[in-house]
């Protein structure tokens, strides 16, 4: 029996019940469209992250606390507070491949100005932050060494925070309250724009790291150190020098593990991309569940269809259809349903991901439909058809021809 012939028979059987077939594949259509749209959001975020890190420059290094074993208990990376402001000062002083450093510690806080308030990230940095991060001040000035030394209550606003608190007013010289502590606004950072779909880099306030440590967090450590190597070629050398210095400063015995890690932009970009990959997988799997639900719908309708067509199956068996012919016929019907739904779902999914940025809630979101996600959704929907179509098809093929012929 030719597959093409069976395919033709299946399509005719399905078009006889157009409404039912459509409702059956609706589950698959929604599932596949959801997988494609969700994965496109995840992929868009990943692409945004990659672009963002690429824009930061390649001679940037980060020193972060590492994992450390304490009486046999291993903490996770970054789970140990080992970095002190003195480490940052020493790196700048002793590593000749390093051009500038900026210690970093952040917190979230409620910010109030007049009758407006906003919750945002307070980024504690060194005075060389604009140089290290290639992020310039648009208006006013960044804080200087003396502000840092004095843990002065000054701050520089990200453009989004400025917009939210001051709208069109000039904020320079005004006083805002961060966690009820008054801070003087001395500058505004240039807008970096929204990147990566879920992050807005302009939604932050920069303040001296000493101020954030002591006045906002009440701690004596920093969470990381941003380091600028003197050139892109020297990042490896800078990395080596920092490692050597830090091991010495933290008195790490030869052969013991580092209690910090020095990462360059490539590493960081990779791990950030990895975390957005996880998000992609998560979004995709949630959408995938709806595909499975769609598959159950197919199984349900195929079981009904088998019952309705017991006589037909009996006739086919009587004129010489083998069990596997009947199995194939019903299996192909299920596959036609799921693959048909899959194809429609792919088209709708691509459409939804293209149109998503026009929905106000998702304004500025980046979506990327990859051939991989299309292929995945298609193969998944086909396998859903095979998986959920097999049981009804086998049930049909195992019918006893005599009973099937007598069935009313």
């Amino acid at each position: 029996m030719k597959i093409l012939k069976v395919l033709q028979i299946s399509i005719r059987a399905l078009t006889r019940n157009k409404m039912r077939s459509f409702l059956t594949i609706l589950g698959i259509i929604i599932g596949v469209a959801a997988v494609i749209a969700m994965v496109s959001v995840g992929e868009g975020a990943k692409k945004g992250v990659e672009e963002r890190f690429a824009a930061m420059g390649t001679n940037l290094l980060f020193v972060q606390p590492g994992s450390r074993q304490f009486r046999g208990v291993q903490t996770g990376a970054g789970g140990y507070v080992t970095l002190k402001p003195e480490d940052a000062i020493a790196i700048e002083q002793y590593c000749d491949a390093v051009a500038a450093v900026s210690p970093s510690i952040s917190t979230r806080a409620q910010v109030v100005y007049a009758n407006k308030n906003w919750n945002t990230q307070i980024q504690g940095t060194g005075e060389k932050f604009p140089e290290v991060r290639k992020w310039n001040v648009e208006e006013g000035s960044y804080f200087d060494e003396s502000h840092v030394a004095a843990a002065a209550k000054v701050c520089v606003l990200g453009s989004l925070v400025k917009q939210n608190l001051f709208e069109d007013d000039d904020p320079i010289g005004k006083t805002i309250r961060i966690n009820k502590i008054p801070f003087k606004v001395i500058g505004i950072l240039e807008s970096k724009g929204e990147q990566g779909g879920f992050f807005n880099r302009d939604d932050m306030i920069a303040a001296p790291y000493t101020t954030v440590m002591r006045r906002l967090r009440g701690v004596d450590y920093i969470s990381s150190i941003d380091v600028e190597a003197i050139s892109a070629d020297m990042t490896a050398e800078a990395q080596r020098q920092i490692t050597e210095l830090m091991r010495e400063r933290h008195r790490i015995a030869p052969g013991a593990d580092d209690d910090f890690q020095v990462r360059n932009m490539t590493d960081v970009a990779e791990s950030a991309a990895q975390s957005s990959q996880i998000m992609t997988i998560l979004l995709g799997s949630i959408a995938g569940i709806s595909l499975i639900v769609g598959g159950i719908g197919i199984m349900n309708i195929m079981l009904v269809s088998v019952t309705e067509r017991i006589r037909e199956i009996g006739i086919r068996l009587a004129v010489g259809a083998r069990e596997k012919d009947i199995l194939l016929q019903f299996l192909i019907e299920a596959i036609v349903l799921s693959v048909g739904g899959g194809l429609i779902g792919i088209i709708i999914g691509i459409g939804v991901s293209r149109l998503m940025k026009y929905v106000p809630t998702f304004e500025g979101i980046t979506t990327v439909v990859t051939p991989g996600s299309i292929l995945l959704a298609f193969l998944f929907s086909a396998s859903v058809g095979i998986f959920f179509g097999y049981y009804p098809a086998r049930k049909a093929s195992r019918l006893d021809p005599i009973e099937a012929l007598r069935y009313e």
């Binding site: 037909e312 009996g314 006739i315 086919r316 010489g320 596997k324």
Partner: protein, 241 residues
């Protein structure tokens, strides 16, 4: 006319319905010659439909042997049985058993699909079979647009299309009025006389049975008597069971 197309040796069929054993056939031994026209008669529950199912390879005997054209088919696999049903046996049922919402031609082509005959050859054969039962011009009518007599003729064409060794008819006129019934019987008689097709027919109607050359009477799963051209011949081929 002395070649034996079907040989049955002590065929027993027992159904297990829950705890109860139903002895549908209690040892049938019989042989049918090529080009025979045989009617199997008997009251309901006599086992004639069970015998027909076994002859048609839709069912297997509980014990005993069944030779179809010399081949022992009591122990064949399900796939082999399906292939033999396809190639050697044509069925005609009381309720026609045509596929709904399909054309006469498609119904007749159905057995060909399962013997891998496709396209032009399949269509030609099916057209020829329909012409053979007098349905030329009705090929593209859907089965629900046909009368009962026409539907049964489509079923006969479907039974004929693969040039089977034997056609099995189960109460072929049971759902037809006497005029249509007579027409169907005329077709059977003609196929048997002119095309030498072997026919086995189950019926309880003596008028219909009288078209057959030989009549076999069953009761309680056993052969009780055999008639040839109206004469009682209770010894011929009948063995104990």
């Amino acid at each position: 006319m002395d070649e034996k197309i079907i040989v049955l040796e002590n065929i027993v069929r027992i159904y297990q319905i829950g705890e109860v054993e139903v002895h549908a056939l209690r040892g049938i031994s019989y042989s049918i010659e090529r080009s025979e026209f045989l009617a199997i008669m008997g009251p309901s529950g006599s086992g004639k439909t069970t015998l027909m199912s076994i002859l048609g390879l839709l069912d297997r005997p509980t014990s005993g042997q069944y030779f179809l054209e010399g081949e022992d088919i009591s122990s064949l696999s399900k796939d082999k049985m399906a292939a033999i049903r396809n190639k050697k046996i044509g069925f005609v049922f009381q309720n026609f058993n045509l596929l709904p919402r399909t054309t006469a031609l498609e119904n007749v082509e159905l057995p060909l699909m399962y013997s891998n005959i496709n396209g032009k050859e399949s269509k030609e054969k099916a057209m020829e079979a329909l012409a053979n039962v007098g349905l030329k011009g009705w090929e593209y009518h859907r089965t629900n647009q046909l009368s009962g007599g026409q539907m049964q003729r489509v079923a006969i064409a479907r039974a004929l299309v693969n040039e089977p060794s034997i056609i099995l008819a189960d109460e072929p006129t049971g759902n037809l009025d006497s005029k249509n019934g007579a027409e169907i019987m005329d077709i059977f008689t003609r196929l048997n006389r002119e095309q030498k097709i072997t026919l086995v027919m189950v019926t309880h109607d003596p008028v219909i049975a009288s078209y057959a050359r030989r009549r076999l009477y069953l009761k309680d799963g056993q052969i009780v008597r055999e008639e040839l051209n109206g004469k009682v011949d209770s010894q011929a081929s009948v063995q104990g069971g």
